[in-house]
Structures are given as structure tokens and as C-alpha cells.
């Protein structure tokens, strides 16, 4: 089959792929299901629309137009708020100025800067998933890393390079210890890592709440549990601050890309990475082949925790510059879904995180702008549905009657499932 595909013209080859269950098709179908479902939710929960559907038989045309327009407007706002604002583009094309450029780039910068820590967090979880361990403790490890980085950030005052390196090391160590704790328990007592990491999450959140009101962390004079702000030398440099001071897009993005390459190298080229993959595919076989599964479990969870800690550091040093009681809020869970969405492949995680960043940024714009104030959690519903479909492609394949792909997607599916 593959030889015949090679000889056919490109256009035909693309056409042949349309009914095939490749990643692009599955994603496309998943997004369309999510959009339809989100549209239905909007229709059923917007008072304006439900009222309008009450009078459907007197104005069928008006009702349908209004419905379509409302739903379309919501989605358009998500897009414009996260990728390109059409109005700002128009203005920029007519009159080129830094101010207009800043308005033009704001949505995209927002998306990418929201996505930056998420990319790293997703990579951390992907490491666990690919070796068959479900590290659900993202939030705890992110907080651990963030707290460590913040402590370094407001305690020491070195040159930026030294300071940021120190932050990174501190964050990785604390995150790695939190992950490694679950790993040791898993390896030596068989405690299920899902429950241990979940419980560590809650404990770490409480410990953070405690530390934030202690003199060690608390900002003097403020009682609402904010930590001290980290020193300017400890903050990740901003790229676009010379255009506008309200434009946030920091150096962390470079770290994120480096982390993507690093993860790729780790799994494709390193011995430990190979061992982790082998354990993920079949722990018994790996044991027989002489891999120390216990050690591999601990290393995996510690490594995943370290990377998650790094993402916490990027959140603190790049975006927040301090720790608030809601720090790490939904990042941990979003990172799980990002990893599933990217099917645990480094670049998949990268684009999955950008998708999430876009949904979050656009969702808030949608809530602010739409006349009916559609809640931004609509974006989360869409994310959840998309992830559901991508994590279980069999459902999509059956729903849309897709063919098995020429190159076995089943291998991918197994990798994701493991």
C-alpha cells in the first residue's frame, strides 16, 4: 500500500488521507464535536436564546439567525482574543506604529505566555505517562518548584544569570523530591502513584497556605497571604517590554522550546529514556531484560517532578513574580490534559499547550466581550471534549467511520495508553 501511495500525485494523496484515522483527522473531528457541543451549551444556557426559541414558530428565521450569530460571535471572540484581532490588524495595516503593533500582538503574546509554563508542565507529565506512571500531582510539584524559586528569588541578589540558574536548580530539586517521594512509595510499597500524588497535592497546597503567612515568605504588612516579590534580577527578561510595558512575553518561551528538544533527546537518544519507555510498554518484559524497574519508577517520577517544578519556576519568575494562595491553580490538571492531547510526544505537548493557552486567553476575552457574558469555562468544556476524543481515538474512528491509517496509528495509541 505504501508504495502505491508514493507514486500518486500529492493532491490525490491528501484526498486519500481524508477518511483515514490519522492525527490530523482525529483532531479535526474532535474539535468539531467540541464546537457543536459547546454551541448547544450556549444555546441552552443563554437566556436571550432560550427566550427566542420560545417564540420559534412565530419567527423561525430570526431565531435561527440570532442563535447562529450568538454562537458564532462567541467562537469568533475566542479566536480574536487569542490569535489575531481583526480590527487591530486592520488598524495596523493602515497606520504602522508601535502602539498599534502592541494591540495587534497582544492576543498572541497572551496565548504564548499562558502556554509557556504549561508546555513544560505537560512535558513533565508526558515523561511519567510514557513510562506508564500516572503522575497526577502536577499541582503540588509546580507549587513546590515555584516556592523554591520564589525563595531563591527574593532572598539572594546576584547577577541575573546566576540568580536564574539558582532558581532553576532549586525548583528542580524540590519538584524532584516531591515526585521522587511518590516514586519511592510506589517502588517499595506498591502504593498507587495516582493516589499518593493526589494527596501530596492537597498537602502541598496546605503547606503553601501555611508558609505564605510565615515571616519567611509573607510580604511584610500584607495579611492576605502574598509572598514577597522576587528581585528584578531573578525575573525572566521580557521580550516585548520595549514596545509596550503591558505586553508580557518572557524569556521562558525559549526555555520551553529547549525543554521540548531536551525531552525529545531524552526519549530518543538516552539510555535512561529508553529504559523508561521499555518499562512503560511492558514492565515484566523490561524486568526480564535486566532493567531495574524499581529504580526506573523512582527516576521517572523524580524526573517528572523536577520538570514540573521547573514549570512552577517559570510561572513565578516569568509571569507572577510572587506567590499567591491560588498559585498553580488549575495548571496541574491542565498539564495532564495537555499531555494527553499531545499524546505524550514533545511537540504534541508543545502545540497542545498553545491550544490551551489560546482557549484560556480567548475564553476570558469572550466572557468580557460577548453581550450575554458567556462564561469562560465554555473554553474548558471544549478542551475537555477535545481531550476526551483524542485520548480515546477509537470513539472518533467509529463515529466518523474513519479507516485504519496506513502507518499503524495503533502503535501511537498504545504508547499513549501506556
Amino acid at each position: 500500500m505504501s508504495e502505491s501511495v508514493e507514486s500518486t500525485p500529492t493532491l490525490l494523496r491528501v484526498a486519500m488521507r481524508v477518511r483515514e484515522a490519522n492525527m490530523a483527522m482525529v483532531l479535526l473531528c474532535a474539535i468539531s464535536i467540541a464546537i457543536v457541543l459547546g454551541g448547544l451549551l450556549i444555546i441552552f444556557t443563554t437566556p436571550l436564546l432560550t427566550a427566542s426559541w420560545g417564540g420559534f414558530f412565530s419567527h423561525p428565521g430570526g431565531t435561527i439567525t440570532l442563535t447562529l450569530r450568538t454562537v458564532w460571535y462567541a467562537y469568533e471572540m475566542i479566536f480574536q482574543g487569542s490569535v489575531i484581532n481583526f480590527h487591530a490588524t486592520n488598524v495596523l495595516l493602515h497606520h504602522w506604529s508601535t502602539e498599534n503593533f502592541s494591540t495587534f500582538i497582544t492576543p498572541l503574546a497572551g496565548t504564548l505566555s499562558y502556554a509557556t509554563p504549561l508546555i513544560v508542565a505537560g512535558l513533565g507529565l508526558a515523561i511519567g505517562f510514557r513510562s506508564g506512571l500516572f503522575d497526577i500531582g502536577g499541582r503540588g510539584q509546580i507549587i513546590g518548584g515555584g516556592m523554591a524559586a520564589a525563595w531563591v528569588g527574593f532572598t539572594f541578589n546576584f547577577t541575573p544569570v546566576v540568580e536564574i540558574s539558582l532558581e532553576i536548580v532549586a525548583a528542580i530539586i524540590v519538584g524532584g523530591l516531591l515526585g521522587g517521594f511518590a516514586g519511592v512509595l510506589k517502588a517499595y510499597t506498591g502504593a498507587h502513584e495516582v493516589i499518593v500524588t493526589m494527596m501530596t497535592n492537597y498537602i502541598v497546597v496546605l503547606v503553601m497556605g501555611y508558609l505564605l503567612i510565615q515571616p519567611l515568605f509573607a510580604q511584610p504588612g500584607i495579611l492576605d497571604g502574598l509572598s514577597k516579590t522576587i528581585n528584578p534580577s531573578a525575573q525572566l527578561p521580557e521580550f516585548l517590554s520595549h514596545i509596550s510595558t503591558t505586553l508580557y512575553f518572557n524569556f521562558g518561551f525559549v526555555f520551553a522550546i529547549v525543554a521540548v528538544f531536551g525531552t525529545q533527546w531524552f526519549f530518543d537518544r538516552s539510555k535512561t529514556g529508553f529504559e523508561l519507555l521499555a518499562v512503560g510498554r511492558n514492565a515484566e518484559a523490561a524486568r526480564t531484560a535486566g532493567i531495574n524497574v524499581r529504580r526506573s519508577t523512582i527516576v521517572t517520577l523524580a524526573l517528572a517532578g523536577g520538570v514540573l517544578g521547573l514549570s512552577g519556576m517559570m510561572q513565578v519568575a516569568g509571569v507572577d513574580h510572587h506567590i499567591s494562595p491560588t498559585f498553580g491553580g488549575s495548571y496541574g490538571f491542565d498539564a495532564i490534559t495537555v499531555a494527553l492531547l499531545g499524546r505524550n510526544r514533545p511537540w504534541g505537548v508543545f502545540f497542545g499547550a498553545i491550544f490551551f493557552g489560546a482557549m484560556a486567553t480567548g475564553g476570558h476575552i469572550m466572557q468580557a466581550v460577548t453581550p450575554t457574558n458567556i462564561d469562560y469555562s465554555l473554553a474548558q468544556v471544549i478542551q475537555a471534549v477535545v481531550v476526551f476524543c483524542v485520548a480515546t481515538p477509537a470513539l472518533i474512528i467509529e463515529m466518523f467511520k474513519l479507516r485504519e491509517p496506513a502507518r499503524r496509528a495503533a502503535v501511537n495509541a498504545q504508547g499513549a495508553a501506556a
Binding site: 497526577i136 495516582v194 469555562s377 475537555a384 481531550v387 476526551f388 485520548a391 480515546t392
Partner: protein, 499 residues
């Protein structure tokens, strides 16, 4: 859930359970020693007291002198029967549940005349009764030491878990008192009765959740979506009940509707896990993400603007006639929300279902060795579908226990990770309904304690965050096998295909 393989024989099992009894006994004894040591160094000026007693409105039937003796004798007789049934299981067999019931009745009967003798009952009204805490602590310590030592020596398997749970609860209480010893807070009261009553009601949703987990995992499917089933159950139930203004039977239907939505999520998990053989943990987590997103959307999009859709009266509190008058135990066990009784009945029902019916036998066999069941003509996937959907239903009712039960309105995030704690409880309870009941009560106690004692301990040495972390720390200890080795169903979480 664990990957280790061990060969199970009857001998092997007995050795394991006797070893466990010894471990439990030693643990209990260590608790006892610690308690004695702590109470020995108690601050002499400490005014901490433990307050026993019921709600002041509860009156108690008077007993004349002769009847008191008769009732006490009856209680002692029953206690003796239960003790013989426990220790001489072979020669004198009562069903396990029967022994438990006899024990509860014995304690209840005994407390009645004893409390009368202690002049608890003045003017026919129950007065609370205060004792200095270090006396109680010392008594508890000595009792724990004796019971633990005896258990470790004789290695009785049947009473082991109950002893350990009781010792653990007593230990937590004394620990708190010990922690509070250095403070100058005078008149520190531990209102034991209200604390215990609160723990029973806090345990309700955990009971439903852990039962759901037990049924699902016994059939070999990991139901990690309990949290999501809680959410949809809680939301749908409160909306339904509010839509009918909580009138008449509508609350019953609201609870059932919560169950139906839970079952819907359960069937989603079942289809994904059984038909498409997707990874059960991943599907479960994604279902939780979906439920969380959709309840958040609906609560901010609908419930925010229609407050009248999000308010419900609490379910009626049912005081069992007679039994609710018993001091301490009465208000704790028999003067509770109707859903609490439903939860306990559900535990009994699930136990009968799993261990006394053909369906239950098949579910268990499917979870242990699916290929064997398939060979004798039991459809593995049909059994698993049934178990997972039933589990979802029960978890949905547990969700209703968050809102309709106590009559609170739905707020996003109110399930607070209890769905995952329920899974830990299921492990703690060794995948058995009664184990789940006991472990739920233990966790309910820690939750109630962390919620309640913050009030008492706010100005004390220990930060409230650490007390709040207690349930989670205990969960980690539980799953790390601190209470002995645990053996999950053999085929737990492994997809089955006929080839």
C-alpha cells in the same frame, strides 16, 4: 493495582491474616504506650476536658433500680455472645454482620443504665458530662496497650481491624490533646458527641464513593471518575430538588436523579474502557475534567442567574425511636440525616450483593480471573458493564449527599477531592463493603476533626493547615500499606479480550 504476583492458598491466606493481626496488635499497643507517656507529661494546670453527652433536648427513658440491673445483665450477656462469636468462630458461628449488630446493641443497652447511674439523667434531661482529659487519656492508653498486646499475642484475625480503627481514633484524639498541652487556653472542651456525629455525616459521601469504587474494582475496572460522578450527582440533584421547591417526594427523586447522572458517567467510562479498551485511568481522569468543566460552566452560566434553582432544604433528620436516646451513641448513630441511613443500608446491601448472590460471585470472579469466567460462559464485559454502571449510580447518590443531604447549594469545587479519597478508602477497606464502612468512618472522623478542631486550636501551637492535612496524610499512609499488606483484585484495571 500493584504488579507483584503472589500465589494464594488457604494456608497462605491464614498466615497473612494472622500476621496482619499481630501487626495491628503491635500498632495498637504502641499507640497505647505513646498515649500513656503523653498523658504522664501533661501540663498539671491543663483544664482540657472531654464533654460527653447528647443534645440537651434529648430526653431519656427512666429506668427503675431493678430494671437497670436487668438491662445491664442483658447487655453483658450480649457482649459475651459477641465475644465468643468473635474468638471461637469455628465452634460458634454467627454471621459477621450479626456479630456486629449484637455488639452494637450490647453497647447501647449497657450505656443506658450506666449513664443513669452516673447521674447523667437529671430531670429526665440528658446533661453533658465532663471529665478531665488526662484521666480519659490514661485509661484509653492502658486499654489500647492491653488490647493491642492481647491481639498481638493471640493473633485473632476477626477483631483486628475494629481494634485498630478504634485505637487509631483514640490516638488521634489524644494526640490533639497532647499537642494542646502547652497552651494556656483554659476550659478547652472536646465536644465528643457532636464531633462524632459530624464525622458520621462527613463519612456519608465517602461511604457511597468507596462502595462505588469497591464494586467497580471487584469487577476489574478502575473507577477513578468517582470525583466527576460526585460533581454531576451533586449538581443535578440540587437542581431537581430546587425546581420542585423540595416538595414531597421530589427530594427522593432528586437523589435518584443524581444517581442516574452518576450512572451516565459510569456508562461512559464503561463504554470507553470495555468496548474501546482505552486506558481506564486516563478515561477516568478525562471524565473528571469533563464533569468539572461542565459543572463549572453550568453553575456560573445558569445557577448564578437562577439562584432559585440552587437551594434545597436539608433532607429530614430521622431519629430512630428509642435508640436515638442512648447517650453518645444515640445522637451519633441514630439521629441523623436520612441519607446516612441509606448509606449504611447500602453498605449492607452491597455486601449481600457481592457475597451472597450469583451476580456478586460472578462480578468477583470476573475481577480475579476473567478468562476462567469467560470459559464457563459468564460474559466478562456484561458483568463489568453492570458493575461500572451500578458503581456510577451509587457514586451519583454520594454526590447528592453533598447538596441535597445537608441542604447546601452547589458550588464549583465543593467535592474537594473526596472522590479520590474514596478510592483510598476502598484500598484501606481492602475492597470489601464493611471495610469501606469502617474506613469511611475513620476518614469522616479526621475530616470532622480537622473542620471542628480548628475552632479550638486556632490559637494553639499546631497550625490549622497541618490538621487539615491529616486526612490526606492518613490516606498516603494507608495506600503505602502502613496497615499491612493489601491485595487488590487480580485483574484490576486490566482490559480483557477474549483472544
Amino acid at each position: 493495582m500493584s504488579t507483584s504476583v503472589e500465589i494464594v492458598t488457604l494456608e497462605n491466606l491464614r498466615a497473612v491474616s494472622r500476621g496482619r493481626a499481630r501487626a495491628y496488635g503491635i500498632t495498637t499497643a504502641i499507640f497505647g504506650i505513646l498515649e500513656i507517656v503523653w498523658m504522664g507529661q501533661t501540663h498539671p494546670g491543663l483544664n482540657t476536658t472531654i464533654e460527653f453527652g447528647a443534645n440537651s433536648s434529648t430526653s431519656m427513658p427512666e429506668l427503675s433500680g431493678a430494671w437497670r440491673v436487668i438491662v445491664l445483665a442483658a447487655a453483658l450477656l450480649l457482649a459475651g455472645i459477641s465475644a465468643i462469636a468473635t474468638t471461637q468462630g469455628r465452634r460458634f458461628a454467627l454471621p459477621r454482620s450479626g456479630t456486629l449488630a449484637v455488639r452494637i446493641i450490647a453497647i447501647a443497652l449497657a450505656l443506658w443504665p450506666i449513664s443513669l447511674w452516673l447521674h447523667v439523667n437529671v430531670d429526665g434531661i440528658l446533661r453533658s458530662w465532663t471529665v478531665p482529659v488526662h484521666v480519659v487519656g490514661l485509661v484509653i492508653g492502658v486499654l489500647s496497650l492491653l488490647a493491642g498486646g492481647y491481639l498481638a499475642w493471640k493473633r485473632y484475625d476477626r477483631g483486628a481491624s475494629a481494634t485498630l480503627y478504634a485505637a487509631l481514633i483514640a490516638f488521634l484524639l489524644t494526640f490533639l490533646v497532647w499537642v494542646a498541652r502547652g497552651s494556656d487556653v483554659s476550659g478547652l472542651h472536646l465536644q465528643l458527641t457532636s464531633l462524632l456525629a459530624l464525622s458520621v455525616s462527613a463519612a456519608t459521601c465517602l461511604m457511597f464513593g468507596s462502595l462505588s469504587g469497591t464494586i467497580c474494582e471487584r469487577s476489574g475496572v478502575v473507577n477513578i471518575a468517582i470525583e466527576g460522578q460526585f460533581m454531576v450527582g451533586a449538581m443535578s440533584a440540587v437542581m431537581f430538588a430546587s425546581a420542585f421547591n423540595g416538595a414531597g417526594i421530589s427530594k427522593t427523586f432528586a437523589v435518584l436523579l443524581g444517581g442516574v447522572f452518576g450512572a451516565l458517567m459510569g456508562s461512559l467510562l464503561a463504554v470507553m474502557a470495555l468496548r474501546y479498551k482505552a486506558d481506564q485511568v486516563i478515561v477516568g481522569v478525562v471524565i473528571v475534567a469533563f464533569c468539572s468543566a461542565i459543572t463549572q460552566f453550568l453553575s456560573s452560566q445558569v445557577l448564578n442567574f437562577h439562584q432559585n434553582l440552587n437551594q434545597s432544604e436539608p433532607l429530614p433528620v430521622w431519629a430512630v425511636p428509642g435508640l436515638s436516646k442512648i447517650p453518645v451513641l444515640g445522637p451519633v448513630l441514630f439521629d441523623q440525616n436520612v441519607l446516612v441511613f441509606v448509606a449504611v443500608l447500602m453498605v449492607v446491601a452491597v455486601n449481600i450483593l457481592l457475597y451472597r448472590t450469583r451476580w456478586g460471585l460472578r462480578v468477583r470472579s470476573v475481577g480475579e480471573k476473567p478468562i476462567a469466567s469467560e470459559t464457563v460462559g459468564v460474559s466478562v464485559s456484561r458483568m463489568r458493564y453492570g458493575a461500572v454502571i451500578l458503581g456510577g449510580f451509587i457514586a451519583g447518590i454520594g454526590g447528592a449527599a453533598f447538596t441535597v443531604g445537608p441542604g447546601s447549594s452547589f458550588s464549583y469545587g465543593m467535592t474537594n477531592g473526596y472522590g479520590y479519597i474514596a478510592l483510598a478508602i476502598m484500598i484501606f477497606g481492602r475492597w470489601r463493603p464493611y471495610g469501606a464502612l469502617a474506613a469511611s468512618l475513620l476518614f469522616g472522623f479526621t475530616i470532622a476533626m480537622s473542620a471542628n478542631l480548628n475552632i479550638y486550636l486556632s490559637q494553639l501551637v499546631i497550625p490549622q493547615q497541618f490538621i487539615s492535612a491529616l486526612p490526606y496524610i492518613i490516606t498516603i499512609a494507608a495506600v503505602a500499606g502502613l496497615v499491612g499488606r493489601i491485595r487488590p483484585p487480580a485483574a484490576d484495571g486490566i482490559p480483557f479480550s477474549r483472544e
